[in-house]
């Protein structure tokens, strides 16, 4: 049932993407030189199938898309899907790094601010979370470039060669999720610390370090782990702007470039791919709830 819903969502998304990319201007105006004759425009439109009714165009688009054929990129003269697939690893690598960064940070700060509830550390965390949520990701990225790449010159601002190229984009992409995740870990940890088994363990004399980082963390991390898919999806969504800032050769930047060039096939392939990932990582969350924590079963 949930899988079916996911498929409906993907089909819906493809319709939205199709409609949205067709209401823009005439692509032949961009592809042909400005002195081209009207007949040449007509021929080109026919070649690209743009002269048919929209419904027919969509059906052709959809039936080809299912077979992995999004047509050739107008600009690069190569299959759009291939273009997107080539860029996909870069995007996924970045999203995974960002996810690791945000989860680690959230676990660390969330646990400590719950254990030392009300201390200066906890208050500092609250202020930091407020500030973090008020900063747009792309500006944070620019500030990182300004500080670490321009002023200090210790980290590269763009490109994708060594591991050091990952640091700034991954932190920027993960930035926005850190505040929400930390809050989640903190409140889960507070609940867990109150629970009977922790009280018992404490009474028995289990060392504090083991108590917190082993016994308590295991349960406190459950809400965060179940939400990983959602956060991964959020990172994919955020990649459009972050990749543009850091000149990261991923799907996000390719789509943004393609939008400006009105390169429909690439836009469609890129956005549809991101949506599929988005839908299915959300779906995975729903389906794995019960596996990770038997107390929460998906009820329908």
């Amino acid at each position: 049932m949930r899988v079916l819903q996911g498929i409906v969502c993907v089909i819906g998304a493809s319709v939205i993407i199709f409609i949205a990319s067709r209401v823009s201007g005439d692509v032949t105006l961009l592809l042909l030189p400005p002195d081209a004759q009207p007949e040449q425009h007509e021929i080109m439109r026919r070649e690209l199938g743009l002269d048919k009714p929209y419904v027919v165009q969509y059906l052709i688009f959809a039936s080809k898309a299912v077979r992995g054929d999004f047509g050739n990129s107008y600009r690069w003269q190569m299959p759009a899907l291939q273009l997107v697939l080539e860029r996909l690893p870069a995007t996924i690598q970045l999203a995974v790094c960002a996810l690791i960064f945000s989860v680690m940070t959230a676990l660390f700060f969330g646990v400590l601010s719950a254990v030392y509830q009300g201390s200066w550390f906890d208050n500092f965390g609250k202020i930091f979370a407020l500030l973090g949520q008020a900063m747009p990701g792309f500006w944070v990225g620019l500030m990182f470039i300004l500080f670490f790449a321009v002023k200090l010159g210790i980290l590269p601002a763009f490109g994708r060669e060594g591991y050091e190229h990952f640091i700034l984009p991954a932190i920027t992409l993960g930035w926005y999720s850190v505040a929400a995740q930390t809050r989640m870990v903190r409140s889960a940890m507070l609940d867990v610390l109150d629970s009977d088994y922790i009280q018992t363990a404490r009474a028995v004399g289990v060392p504090k370090k083991i108590l917190i980082w082993k016994y308590a963390l295991r349960n406190a991390a459950v809400p965060l782990v179940t939400m990983l898919g959602v956060y991964f999806a959020a990172m994919l969504g955020g990649s459009f702007i972050i990749e543009t800032i850091f000149a990261w050769p991923g799907v996000g930047r390719t789509v943004v470039d393609a939008i400006f060039a009105r390169d429909y096939p690439v836009v469609q392939a890129g956005v549809l791919f991101t949506s599929i990932f988005y839908v299915f990582s959300n779906l995975l969350v729903d389906l794995t709830y019960g596996l990770i924590d038997p107390r929460i079963r998906y009820v329908r």
Partner: protein, 290 residues
């Protein structure tokens, strides 16, 4: 208010004064008044070019001067004036986009929740589908398809955010629907529309107000992101995101052209988020998780 005869009242009013979000209110007041006054208070015309004065740093740095307190950009335009004019675009976008997305979302949510059945299914599937496209991707496609500008930014925000209101309002309506006063209204022969408008709307109004204030911060960042990518506000209009986009190539030579417009965004977002938090805690404490 300091009368000795009413100590209890006095105490509670002091507590209220302390809890009232003065700083966020001051920030929002400053943003909206600079939006309103705009060209009257800007020290220079926001579009005035002066290449001889390009890239002047803010006044506290060497070579800075008080006549351009926050420095100038690559074309010698005064940054302070442009930030003030940027507030105007931010306010215009917010004042159009938030009421529209709220109204459409609330209406859809009320219809879905009240009538249930097929209509509910249709609307909620639409919400699901819409949410399955990453919102920025949808915004990029729409913004690229329509002619970029203020109106497009507003449309994009409305299209993206109505689902948010619809989901929450629907949930609210579903729980209100079982209450006696709704049943009584129905028994008394009220039409569906009058029940929705006279009985549901007043009850979800607080929630709507809280959602709207909380949306303000994200609308500001959203507009800035779109403008930054070149798909939002177009010159000669000024927006904070657009200022950042213009300044991006000069990041190695002038920090202020990048940092200061961004700071305007951060401060405004902070103000609206804090105000939204306060309003939520005051009006609608059960929505803490938002």
């Amino acid at each position: 208010m300091t009368s000795q005869s009413a100590p209890a009242r006095n105490k509670s009013s002091i507590r209220w004064m302390l809890r009232f979000p003065w700083i966020p209110m001051i920030i929002l007041f400053m943003v909206f008044s600079s939006a309103l006054l705009g060209p009257i208070i800007t020290p220079h015309k926001h579009g005035a070019l002066n290449l001889g004065l390009a890239m002047k740093p803010p006044f506290w740095q060497e070579n800075g001067s008080m006549s351009y307190p926050l420095g100038t950009d690559n074309m010698g335009r005064d940054i302070l004036s442009r930030i003030i004019m940027g507030a105007r675009i931010t306010a215009i976008v917010a004042l159009w986009a938030i009421p529209f997305s709220g109204a459409i979302g609330a209406l859809m949510g009320m219809i879905a929740g009240y009538f249930g059945g097929k209509i509910d299914m249709l609307i909620m599937r639409l919400v699901d589908i819409q949410m399955s496209v990453p919102s920025l991707a949808l915004a990029l496609i729409l913004a690229a398809s329509l002619k970029p500008g203020v109106a497009t930014v507003i449309i994009v925000i409305v299209v993206t955010y109505w689902t948010w209101y619809a989901r929450i309002v629907r949930g609210e309506v579903l729980s209100l629907k079982e209450r006696d006063f709704i049943a009584l209204a129905r028994v008394a022969g009220c039409s569906a529309w009058s029940i929705l408008l006279k009985h549901f709307l007043p009850n979800i109004f607080n929630t709507l107000l809280v959602l709207a204030t909380l949306q303000l911060g994200s609308v500001i960042t959203y507009e800035a992101s779109l403008s930054f990518l070149g798909l939002g506000i177009q010159p000669p209009d000024v927006s904070w995101g657009l200022m950042l986009a213009d300044a991006r190539p000069y990041i190695t030579v002038a920090w202020w052209v990048i940092a200061l417009p961004g700071l305007a965004i951060v401060i405004t977002c902070l103000g609206s988020n804090l105000f939204g938090d306060w309003l939520r805690d005051t009006l609608d404490p059960k929505r803490r998780q938002l």
